[in-house]
Symmetry: C2
Subunit: 565 residues, 2 copies
Amino acid sequence: MFRNSHTLVKFYWKHQLNNHFRSSSSIFTRCGSSFHQDRNSENKRYSVYSALSLSFVGALSYYLYKDEIKNYLIENHQVQALRKEAVQEEISCGIRRKDLPTYSSEEVSQHDNPNNGIWVSYKEGVYNITDFVTKHPGGQNKIMMAAGGSIDPFWMVFANHNKSEILELLESMRIGNLRSEDVYKKTADTFDPYALEPVRSKILKVNGKQPFCAEPPPPLLVKNFKTPKDVFYVRNHLPVPIIDIENYELELAVEDDTIKTLTLEDIKKYPKYTVTSAIMCGGNRRSEMADAKPLRGLSWSVGAIGNASWSGARLCDVLNGLGVKEEDYNHVQFEGMDLDPSGIPYGASIPISKAFDPRADVLLAYEMNEEEISLDHGYPIRVIVPGVVGARNVKWCNKIIFSKDESPSQFQQNDYKGFSPSIDWDNVDFKTAPAIQELPVTSAICIPQRGERITVDKNGTIPVKGYAWSGSGKKIIRVDVTVDQGETWHIAKLVAQDPDAKEGRHYAWTLWSLDLPVDKTKGSVEIWVKAVDSAYNTQPESFKNIWNLRGFLCNAYHRVKVDLV
Amino acid sequence: MFRNSHTLVKFYWKHQLNNHFRSSSSIFTRCGSSFHQDRNSENKRYSVYSALSLSFVGALSYYLYKDEIKNYLIENHQVQALRKEAVQEEISCGIRRKDLPTYSSEEVSQHDNPNNGIWVSYKEGVYNITDFVTKHPGGQNKIMMAAGGSIDPFWMVFANHNKSEILELLESMRIGNLRSEDVYKKTADTFDPYALEPVRSKILKVNGKQPFCAEPPPPLLVKNFKTPKDVFYVRNHLPVPIIDIENYELELAVEDDTIKTLTLEDIKKYPKYTVTSAIMCGGNRRSEMADAKPLRGLSWSVGAIGNASWSGARLCDVLNGLGVKEEDYNHVQFEGMDLDPSGIPYGASIPISKAFDPRADVLLAYEMNEEEISLDHGYPIRVIVPGVVGARNVKWCNKIIFSKDESPSQFQQNDYKGFSPSIDWDNVDFKTAPAIQELPVTSAICIPQRGERITVDKNGTIPVKGYAWSGSGKKIIRVDVTVDQGETWHIAKLVAQDPDAKEGRHYAWTLWSLDLPVDKTKGSVEIWVKAVDSAYNTQPESFKNIWNLRGFLCNAYHRVKVDLV
């Protein structure tokens, strides 16, 4: 697990922080958050050193630009607002309770294994999470890092825990109070890992603040065949890393051994390929599945998808001449420069056959829609794995590993997987399901939106627009729409598809449009859409039978009820 | 259309007729049926010369072995029985009617175009089929071959027309009687193209007699991971050709120009590859879709699928060194040695990228389950296109054409395609849908069968078994079974998968099994099954919303109602 321990104290140099600094032409350098693991036998707590553990270079840059950072934080209303909301949500959990006993951090630390019970502290509270550990949606390994210690520093990074339902769940496991002098304190110098995220377009609806997860409004999504970067959904899993582009290197390794390093310029020397590919989050449309039955995960509407042209070096070209043989390994792992509190990078892997196959079009992309990839979308290098779930299209990639094994990352092992509807958090075993790679066929109505009042035109129709997409390079061949529960299906016009896609490599989405006949006298209609791909796979009708505990693969018919006037 | 006119008078030599002749060690030679097109300006009828038009060699062989043929026909009860039934079905149509006028064949022949109206004769009847031509399920081109003439000889080959509903439909277009002296007469020497079909295993349930289409009983299907040849479904489109193996050649052509020919021995010189691949008919499970709403096509149950290992040369190896460039063409067409009455061979095509891709595992197979491929399954060469509908896995292949265009065959152009449920025979335009290639995910329950009485065992379960498969090389990752309409899903055990399949190339089927908990007190249960493949595509719930006029792609949940005792 600590193969990447060399990254534990790692400093980044900023290349382009955000538009704010760009426009004021500030030269800005920032050090990333860094966490140090201190696991001595006496006190098995994780200590988090942030500013405190800054190395010389990092510290120097921090202090040189401290005022700029402070000013930035004050000026950046968006970040401030987010933090304020987060704080408000926290108030119901971790407050001292008079009805419970008090424990020292030493006592808590003795409960770091199943035999003694697993305890953690959060603010002033002490919790027995023994029974919950195996059910932790983020994986057992991750939650065990906090065993016997404070979860506060972890939740600074995995700030998506700051939700009422999670705080409530934690509080239900409360067993006591933490001795006042042992309560984890954010020091004045603690560097908030999310303080310097890029400024985002106000267009996006924010589903998760830290890490940042946001999607555009559906009608905007279908305005362009290629989604502009500011409209393109963002699904980060960790704080956005700060990129020291001057010293950027992509490391290529076979298991634990580095075999080559490439600078950005080196990567740009390979033939430049362009592929238009949609990228979709595995949880896109989760809100609809959650309507069928509650589940855990960010509440995405239909916007966790975007379509862009990506340009860069083909991975198969980079692999060529390395001396690595496809048959000797099973997987190609990618690591991002975004780190979790223990210094482990975001990671994912794909089958090695896809990496070696020139027809799979896997890219080390440095351009998105003919421009340098923006920070939120993976600058300087994002791995593009066309037809495959967003989670494997690794942003900020700085390491590629050929391995017998899949990525050890929890996002590969214990997160992006699908299960039978009968599997719940009490009986789930993540090992029984394969990591999601290629995605099934889906479609969505973006215009109109649920609950809208639509004027029926003189021909008795209403305009309906949306997208359709299938993984694995399958082309969308038909989109069917009904307003009478399938008694009559209307065939939509496919208004935009990639004209340059090669046979079997239709990675871009399809935009569709239809003047849908409706009966105005009904007052309202429920519009259903389903798409069919070139393997004639089509969507399941309803969410009930594809429901899964993490809310992935939400590709049932999209149903939108609207009022007619 | 008549690119293949050189095949019009083509004679076959038998290699191995059937087990009957094999066991009696007969040396047997047979000529195939041959049809000659006689389209002079005065009489645009198609004349069918069978024994009459035999060339010297064919005639010689026929007369040399006439008695053997006769004896064979007498002895072969199966063939006799089939013919008898076919004759019985014909009685309701084409009989002289006193209420209608009489026309000469000369008068009929003047009605061979839309301007004059399109007439045909059948036995003693004359029919105006003008309005039906565009709705002909077998394609407009095919039916127009009989325009102005007799359809009798065509129906000898396309004997699947001998069905009450088709005869009834024809009779509804009746306008008159044909002059007695012009009525088409099968001469004593007419060679029945179906007279010498291989003798088939009695195991198979016959869905179509001529051409032969048959499937095994479901419980037998899941007895073996590799389906034995006598249990493997047969879906022929034309009479089985007689193979002159001594003179067999596989012709490779670029558009109209032959660039190479290979003997069977030449093909066997390429490296031998083995791929285990299921082959499924595009109409498998059609009977269930027809239950939802009537449609046209053979009534397949769940048995129009089989799984076998196929060995032969990889097509990509054969293409290597030919000088044909993938980027110069779009499709690779295959022709079989089975001919229609006008001498046009069965044909199909696949995208050229699949032919050139070593990872697509397209084979020119000469072995099935480690034995020489039997006559019914495509001896001597069957093209195996793993993951792709059976219709493109061309049997008896003797020609491969690199082309800008798809196969002109009606089976490519106007047959194996999927449509929206709203498309019917009045508004269908076959050009609007792509030819079916890769197939969607499916599954079926083979044990128990519908209506069976099943004894619930002491644990309160019943044994359930079946298969699951997905095209495109997608692996089956899960099979879910329910007896309460999806309230509870039970996960089946995947008992057999191809252990040698490479990542993304899982072409074999998966056999699954489950001891399914049931409530005996309910008296009966309806079992539903759905499979999930490695792209997490799953099956649609019901047939209503995937219904299509030809009854292809019948992959909704399989539902089997049984009684419990």
